[in-house]
Symmetry: C2
Subunit: 258 residues, 2 copies
């Protein structure tokens, strides 16, 4: 089974000015990990066409999929659809199916100019359903265009995911070590080196005045992962470390960094 | 006064896997806006040397400053310092001042191998103080290297900021419009077009079952900004829109998107 890779392009001045705190990166990252897509890069760019087109062209040729969030509303700074059309080299056209969706959503009212703009889709794009507010996202070639509002992004992601290829799921095992990171660094460096296909991540935490380290072992081969975990446990015991083993769980326990 | 630009490079597999939710992008974005540095791009890459070096080289030649967060701890996956040294083309050396800081921090204990690693700084780099946990960041050329743990990143940012050039502060005025975004889109598009130097951002919100729009006007020239705000208010009144004017505040009110 081949690995499937992706990048996320977050579009919006409001993220770069600090006005809005992005909520989509972490959501999409977790989603990708859960379904077996490896998120390899994220970029945040401003609402400028050349910035968006340049980033799209680099990312769509480097990864299997490029997700975008933001910039598909009805205002002058919503230029994602036109930028994607330009990058892909197709026309931006009023989409009949999108117009029908908008008309069904706003029955009786005439479609305003602003709302009509949201029905413009790059020629050949396939619509992504927005059950929150109507105006659809779209997928064209390997580019998946979604809204920036988290709730809308999330329903769009649910709608498009069944259409995507996925690879092997990355499995993980978590250990809590009640010692500073530097004291376990040599051991985990050694295990990481010696076991191709298994990566060890190390995350210090400070909690209730205590310093400790979360170690996460990750790999796609469950048998190998369990084997390396056993070896890790044996070494921790040999070094008389105070640790909490959590080998049965694929859920990661987020620990406070505060 | 010249504008000063920056990019942020977030380094870490844990952000891309979803294990850790980044807290530094928004903090740094707000900080930059407050001090007069324009954050123009953010990238998130994994703990791989070639990815870090490639991103650093593009960003440091494109912007006045590049901030990095993450990857300066004591473990095998902490490769930011060596990657920066490689990108800049200098050696990574044990820094005498950094060793002294670590020794003062851990008196009586011998400096462990792991902690010693954290004192390796690209040759010519200037240390950035870490009042939380000792191990310093550094600045070399226009690259500012900080920790990934938010509290540590924040004290490092405070330490390095007085050394940075800054430009004009971006001022902003916020309006809350109690109508869907599409109904104000034509007006704000027109104002944005007609006023070089002023940009209008439009952010839909859903709150207590109601749909509305936050409009933010931004610019560095206060007089011009106030003038465009007056024009905006006159137009909103002419169109009999229900809105809340907030012209006196440079604080942005975050509105819930939930």
């Amino acid at each position: 089974m081949k690995d499937v890779t992706a990048a996320l392009l977050v579009i919006g001045d409001e993220i770069l000015s600090g006005r809005t705190s992005d909520k989509n990166i972490n959501y999409l990252a977790n989603h990708c990990t859960a379904v077996g897509i490896r998120l390899e890069e994220v970029r945040v760019v401003s609402d400028k066409e050349d910035r968006i087109v340049d980033a799209l062209n680099v990312l769509r040729s480097s990864y299997d999929y490029v997700f975008t969030t933001g910039g598909i509303g009805p205002t002058h700074d919503d230029i994602t659809a036109q930028s994607v059309a330009k990058a892909v080299g197709v026309e931006l056209l009023e989409n009949r199916q999108a117009i029908a969706i908008m008309q069904a959503r706003y029955p009786g009212e005439e479609l305003s100019e602003g709302r009509r703009l949201m029905a413009r889709i790059p020629d050949g794009g396939e619509l992504i359903k927005n059950s929150v507010s109507g105006a659809p996202g779209f997928m064209i070639e390997n580019v998946i265009v979604m809204a920036g509002v988290p709730k809308i992004m999330q329903v769009m992601l649910d709608d498009v995911t069944p259409k995507l290829r996925t690879g092997r799921r990355l499995l993980s095992r978590t250990f809590i070590i009640r010692h500073p990171e530097s004291t376990v660094a040599p051991l985990i460096g050694k295990l990481d080196d010696e076991n191709e296909g298994i990566s060890l991540g190390s995350y210090p935490y400070f909690k209730l005045g205590k310093v400790g380290t979360v170690i996460v072992l990750r790999g796609v081969d469950e048998e190998q992962l369990d084997q390396v975990c056993l070896e890790f446990v044996a070494e921790l015991k040999r070094e008389e470390k105070d640790f909490e083993e959590d080998c049965d769980s694929t859920e990661l326990k987020p620990l406070s960094f505060d």
